[in-house]
Symmetry: C2
Subunit: 253 residues, 2 copies
DNA sequence: ACTTATTTGTTCGTATGTATG
DNA sequence: TCATACATACGAACAAATAAG
């Protein structure tokens, strides 16, 4: 009944694996100089072109979709992906939600990463940041203060501030990685009840100090300001950890 | 086993989508406190427990496999993954091989990232690095010099040096990210003929200067040494870019 | 508003390759 | 060698989303 397709005449030892299909799709994109957003052949065409079954092609496409190398739209087609770091965000988020021994390790590490990136770029930020950028940073701080007074959620502004701080470097990887760390923090922190609205006033002042250091083009002041900026976040994490430890002790006794 | 997966008492209106299957597998891992390497239910059990077909479960598992959240071993079973940054490596590698406008942008950015990380951690590296670590660093430089004299490939030693430099921070994300950037560089650079064996002698001296600065616990010297260390890499990339531009001009005329 | 064609999403049945005992 | 359990792979059929006429 089933016409078993042996085709083993001179074929490779293994017919075709999922991984090979994925590799050949990537090669197709590279060789044809496709750009993010460009349309790829349909599943049926890929099956015929690669000599693989639809199931194998689909599984291969799904792995590429998870890496944002391709983007699949139902009823539409398959396109070249945006090459974002969405996979990193999902992976780190899962790690943060998983870790059973120390739930707060990942959060501390994320704060570390952002601080290290900004302190490590200090000199280059001061060299490349121009007047209009600094003005934009200052406006964001003003907006943050006003929003805070009105009881609004200022995390979005905070995020834009740091993205703008890193942006003039024109380094896509650093910008996206920093942004990814922010995403993960925003997802994981609420689950561990780290987010509080207390010391956001301190945060505004910390941002002001950063802007002042940038305007003065003072590397040492910038370094100190950035360090001071991340201190409250570390304190919140430590406080949440202690709360958690106490709750666990009560629960265990 | 089957019942423990179900988190919904009532059946969902739509049967089940691939994405939902993936989310529920992740929840299963988190809720059951599984650790990397632990065995997951087989495909058949997942199908029954989640009420999904084999294909849907397989495609969902493949997306999680791409993120290293699970790890599938043929004929063995499906296990919780190592949560590495393999997805980031694959994504960045593809981006580096793709970029048509400026092939060398990604390489420059990768060098930037590594330099920014090490310079940003300068103070903390000096604070936490102990005598035995410094000795190990020095031995690696000696080994590098000896290997270079024997005409061996010292890139592995170079890699270990920087991993050791970052290691005492005990920050998994930074260590893995730095390592991932190194991986990508090692894959992409040969494709663009950036790797040369010329100025490896300079590299050895640059490493010696870094070690000396660490031993002296001198932040400023450390900063200068790290910057000097990455300078040859930037020069190689710029040289390769010029070569490429000339070749393109000849080809186009 | 309706139909039709195209494309991806989902499911089932079957056969094959791989590792364990 | 055989049996078992697992993932891998193929192919066919139908459902759902989208676009164009």
């Amino acid at each position: 009944m089933a016409e078993t397709i042996r085709t083993k005449g001179t074929a490779s030892p293994r017919p075709l694996r999922r991984h090979e299909v994925a590799e050949r799709i990537k090669r197709y994109i590279i060789d044809n100089r496709l750009r993010p957003g460009d349309l790829l052949p349909s599943e049926g065409e890929l099956c015929e072109a690669l000599g693989a079954s639809r199931s194998s092609v689909r599984e291969a496409v799904k792995t590429l979709d998870a890496l944002d190398i391709v983007e699949v739209r139902h009823g539409h087609g398959t396109y070249v992906g945006r090459l974002s770091m969405s996979a990193l965000v999902e992976g780190l988020t899962f790690r943060g939600l998983l870790s059973p021994d120390d739930d707060f390790k990942v959060l501390e590490e994320l704060v570390d990463v952002r601080e290290v990136l900004e302190r490590g770029m200090a000199q280059r930020i001061l060299d490349t940041l121009h007047a209009d950028h600094i003005t934009a940073l200052e406006e964001l701080v003003d907006e943050m203060e006003a929003g805070l007074a009105a009881g609004q959620d200022v995390i979005g502004i905070d995020r834009r501030f740091h993205a703008l701080l890193v942006e003039p470097l024109r380094n896509e990887i650093i910008s996206q990685f920093s942004s990814a760390c922010w995403d993960v923090y925003g997802i994981v922190a609420p689950h561990l009840h780290v987010i509080t609205k207390q010391d956001e006033l301190d945060t505004v002042n910390a941002h002001r100090a950063v802007v002042a250091a940038v305007r003065a083009a003072d590397p040492l002041a910038f370094d100190r300001a950035v360090e001071a900026h991340y201190r409250p976040a570390r304190r919140r994490i430590a406080a949440a950890r202690e709360r958690n430890a106490k709750a666990a002790a009560q629960n265990g006794s």
